[in-house]
């Protein structure tokens, strides 16, 4: 187990002309944590990662590794392993030379360097490929070489910049699992950047959702998904409906909330019996329906005029096939799945 260190990001600001890439971002990452920076492109997540790596110089603010200020430290002195989006493997070196590279820079004795490189290649399941040229590797294999190269010198922190975005879906899911397992084995503090919310939910201890240079919310995947603190987070994390309190009635007739409510498309049922007495009901007319394999997606126009998405699992959707557009439909959601978003308007 490597010694991993906590990271403190203290009101880091970065502007390019009038464009604010990082707007006084503060963030504490615990030692050994797997934290994901999640956001759309241009949200500042990669800028923040590159600031940690030392390739982007912040305008102001502080970066601490453990209690050491690294804000002005040169990138090559930070001892941080990085997996780049396009892998950035050296095309003029074979697999083994790529993995030995950081050890050679550290003047590790040749025999030891070779052994450690081979051990690390075995750890990422690349035994027997050490003499291959980079050009002769598949995307997944390159990804593994990049991983091996980033961990072989036992850095105290690992940064990953959308490392799986170039892989196809199946391979991506395998690698998500393997990267997470590698993290758990090594216990290395990891900051992972992605724009894929599923990936963030699957892999992370905590997720920091970013938008326009700010952290919108930082929380566990479940909290982020079920209890988003802003409308942006709610909508970015999945099919969210933000409805005005007036469109929602309590099944038991109690007073509804005064704030905008978030209900995820898949929280709805068409059968009131599946929802408790304290649940809510939304009345509307069916605008469109689509069969998506594992579920049906219904679009409902509420009486207030707003459209919502309702997603019914195929197993519970026996009646969906018979629904016709224009028909009155009531969607029910359990109280636990109705989340008030302070300050948001529908």
């Amino acid at each position: 187990m490597m010694k991993s260190l906590p990271i403190t990001i203290d009101s880091v600001r970065k502007t390019y002309g009038s464009y604010v890439a990082l707007d006084d971002v503060s963030l504490d990452i615990q030692a050994g944590e797997f934290l994901t920076l999640l956001g759309p492109s241009g949200s500042g997540k990669t800028t923040l990662l590159m600031a940690l790596a030392g390739f982007v110089r912040p305008d102001s603010g502080k970066l601490l590794l453990d209690d050491r200020d690294i804000t002005r430290l040169a990138p090559n002195k930070r001892d941080i392993g990085i997996v780049f989006q396009n892998y950035a493997l050296f095309p003029h070196m074979n697999v083994l030379a790529n993995v030995e590279y950081p050890l050679a820079l550290r003047k590790t004795p040749k025999v030891e360097a070779r052994q450690r490189a081979l051990d690390t290649l075995a750890r990422v399941k690349l035994e027997g490929l050490s003499e291959r040229n980079i050009a002769a590797l598949s995307g997944g294999q390159r990804q593994r070489v990049a991983l091996a190269r980033a961990i072989v010198f036992e850095p105290r922190v690992m940064l990953m910049d959308e490392p799986l975005s170039a892989l196809d879906k199946n391979l991506r899911e395998t690698m998500q699992y393997e990267i997470r397992r590698l993290h758990d084995d090594l216990g290395i503090t990891t900051i992972y950047v992605t724009h894929d919310q599923r990936e963030a939910l699957i892999m992370s201890d905590r997720v920091a959702v970013m938008n326009s240079g700010r952290i919108q919310q930082i929380d566990t995947p479940q909290q982020i998904y079920d209890r988003p603190s802003t409308r942006f987070v709610a909508e970015f994390m999945g099919e969210a409906n933000i409805v005005a309190p007036g469109s929602v009635r309590r099944i038991d007739g109690a007073d509804p909330s005064r704030e905008a409510l978030m209900i995820r498309a898949e929280s709805f049922h068409l059968d009131a019996k599946l929802v408790g007495r304290d649940g809510v009901a939304l009345d509307g007319t069916l605008c469109a329906k689509a069969f998506r394999g594992e579920n049906w997606l219904l679009t409902l126009a509420l009486d207030g005029g707003q459209e919502i998405l309702v997603c019914i699992p195929a197993a519970l959707a026996s009646g969906c096939a018979e629904l016709t557009t224009g028909q009155r439909v009531t969607a029910y959601a359990p109280a636990a799945k109705v989340h008030a978003i302070p300050g948001a308007r529908a």
Partner: protein
């Protein structure tokens, strides 16, 4: 039915191939006319006396002359000297250009390319103005008291070399700059993140990945400089006599087409030999497994 279609398709494919082949005919014709024919003519000429009879006397005369060999040495000294200086000056310059911001790089590139748009004769005489005994550089040196006597900067080997480097540097720079600019910036970031200093990144990543460009640039420099005439003629002051000047002299002074042809063939062989050596070296470097990353 299908057989018919197949043969028709095959005929189409053949016609298309022929068409594209025919597009290259004008170029092939010009190459044949401008390059191969003269070479054949020179080879023929080298075996003829002035009277037009067959002889190997031209070869005996030229190869036994000390002037030929000293001209050969001068040619190599000028070519390899220019090449060495181009590599030493051009590689760091290309690195600086490739790492500059695009707008700055374009501006600097325009400055580098400017001399290429000027006639070589104008440039060479320009150097004369700068380098001669009462020229600008010597005036500055003696005027400021840095040197007591004017330095012999022109009408000698030094002056010739300065002029040749000035001509060749942009041509060397272009392929090297192109190769360096194509290097993914993340490779350099990656090497830094693993602990490489700038010097180590240059040695282990940038130079190996731009070796192809440096080789191309070197071949260009060598092929150009081996036949350089104007620069040594103007800046050499009669004291720098590479093969090109010997050829001209043999023709203008002695009207000896046979010997001149032999010298020309010598130049060709030299060029071919160096070409083969460059290619062999390039293959050697490319083929070598960069197995160790030791910096």
């Amino acid at each position: 039915m299908t057989v018919l279609a197949d043969t028709a398709l095959a005929a189409d494919a053949r016609r298309e191939r022929r068409f594209f082949l025919s597009l290259s005919l004008p170029a092939l014709f010009i190459v044949g006319l401008a390059a191969i024919l003269p070479i054949v003519w020179i080879i023929r000429q080298s075996f003829l006396t002035t009277g037009g009879e067959y002889t190997v006397g031209n070869y005996e005369k030229v190869l036994s002359s000390g002037l030929t060999w000293s001209a050969l040495v001068t040619t190599l000294e000028l070519s390899l000297g220019t090449l060495a200086i181009c590599i030493l000056l051009g590689t760091p310059l290309a690195l600086a250009l490739a790492s500059a911001r695009p707008r700055v790089a374009n501006l600097l590139m325009a400055f580098v390319m400017l001399p290429l748009w000027t006639s070589i004769l104008v440039r060479t005489y320009g150097w004369l103005v700068l380098l001669r005994r009462d020229g600008l550089i010597n005036a500055a040196l003696t005027g400021s008291g840095l040197t007591a006597e004017p330095l012999p900067l022109v009408y000698n080997f030094t002056g010739t070399l300065i002029g040749m480097v000035h001509y060749m540097l942009p041509l060397f720079l272009l392929p090297v700059y192109a190769a360096m600019r194509d290097i993914d910036a993340n490779l350099i970031r990656a090497s830094a993140s693993m602990g490489a200093t700038l010097g180590q990144a240059i040695r282990t990543v940038i130079l190996p990945l731009s070796a192809g460009g440096i080789f191309s640039g070197s071949i260009i420099v060598f092929i150009y400089t081996i036949g350089f005439f104007i620069t040594p003629a103007v800046l050499g002051g009669g004291k720098v006599n590479p093969l090109s000047i010997r050829i001209e002299r043999t023709l203008s002074t002695f009207q000896d087409w046979g010997s001149a042809s032999v010298l020309g063939i010598l130049l060709l062989i030299l060029m071919a030999l160096m070409g083969v050596m460059f290619l062999a070296a390039r293959r050697l470097i490319a083929g070598r497994k960069v197995g160790t990353a030791h910096a």
